[in-house]
């Protein structure tokens, strides 16, 4: 059974919760631990085949897309739950990784932005305009 709501406070709370459910009020949030983590989000990538190799360049590029995007985090899944924000701390960051595919060698160059992950208390922080949304989700 759902939790009981009673009395005037109860009904007011219920309205707020229903309002939250339909998306017109920010969710009520509890304090969360401060984290010190960075998120990397890829904008571009390229494939660098093993030295001298000239075959499979298209498939290498395609697999590097998969490889780099798999490294990339999802912007929306940070900001949508509420309480988290991402502060861009570096642009055009290049990460070079092995393609790591059992059937093809070479490396992937993943280019993206780096974000500092920050927790804020949405209950006291209303100005959501400061949460910058990049063009790519």
């Amino acid at each position: 059974m759902g939790y009981p709501i009673s009395g005037r406070c109860g009904v007011a709370l219920a309205l707020v919760l229903w309002g939250t459910a339909v998306g017109w009020l920010p969710p009520a949030l509890a304090a969360e631990p401060v984290v010190d983590k960075k998120a990397f989000m890829v904008n571009d990538y390229r494939y660098e085949p093993p030295e001298g190799a000239t075959a499979n360049l298209d498939i290498g590029l395609s697999l590097c897309g998969t490889r780099c995007h798999a490294l990339s985090e999802n912007f929306a899944s940070y900001i949508k739950p509420g309480g988290w924000r991402l502060i861009k701390i570096a642009g055009n960051v290049t990460i070079r990784v092995e393609l790591n595919n059992p059937f093809l060698g070479g490396q992937c160059v993943c280019v993206g932005n780096e974000y500092k992950i920050d927790w804020y208390d949405a209950a006291t922080y209303r100005d959501r305009s400061e949460i910058r949304t990049p063009a790519v989700e």
């Binding site: 890829v42 298209d58 498939i59 395609s62 897309g65 998969t66």
Partner: protein
């Protein structure tokens, strides 16, 4: 007499079309034409046959190219855009191979190659009209390069992009364009 006046008003209205600038009827307004410099991203997408397609290579093959952004289960906009492509291919007949039509899905989750194939069959597409899907990140990248990023498929716009002979220059048509108008626009970039 009153009936005669009504007739004239209705006739004028019917011929010119009212154009209140609202929503469904906004489509009655003429489409907007601009010329833009665009740089194509180097990503590998997948066509209706499941084949990998290097997007930049396909677009920059030297043929005139028309690009639109649609998805298979879309309601009003995509059927109209796709009817425009069907009409282009019909009107050009055997010459339709002179230009490349490219539809790019904005719903890659749902639009797998078999879904794309079924869609093209529904619109009686001929060779020279490819419907591309891919990873969401790559599709987003292509949308961004056209300045047509739609984070939500339900909020997309009726764009047609025509590649001109002028390097990197594209004609952008914004609006529910009629078959004849699209044909005229194609002819303007050199397809006869």
């Amino acid at each position: 007499m009153t009936k005669g006046i009504t007739l004239v008003i209705l006739c004028m209205a019917a011929i010119t079309g009212f154009s209140p600038n609202r929503s469904a009827v906004a489509a009655e307004a003429p489409y907007k034409r601009t010329v833009e410099s665009l740089s194509m991203p180097d990503v590998v997408l997948v066509n209706q046959k499941g084949e990998k397609v290097r997007f930049k290579t396909l677009v920059e093959s030297g043929k005139p190219v028309v690009v639109d952004f649609i998805y298979a289960t879309c309601t009003t906009i995509c059927p109209i855009l796709s009817a425009g492509f069907t009409n282009l291919q019909r009107k050009q007949g055997v010459d339709s191979a002179k230009f490349q039509l490219i539809s790019i899905t904005i719903d890659p989750e749902n639009d797998s190659p078999p879904v794309l194939t079924e869609y093209l069959e529904r619109y009686q597409a001929r060779p020279g009209w490819d419907f591309l899907t891919g990873s969401r990140a790559d599709i987003n990248k292509v949308m961004n390069s056209f300045g047509a990023f739609f984070p939500n498929k339900m909020s997309h716009r009726p764009y047609n992009f025509i590649r001109t002979n002028d390097q990197g220059k594209w004609v952008k048509l914004d609006g529910m364009i009629g078959g004849r108008d699209l044909l005229n626009e194609i002819e303007k970039v050199g397809v006869k």
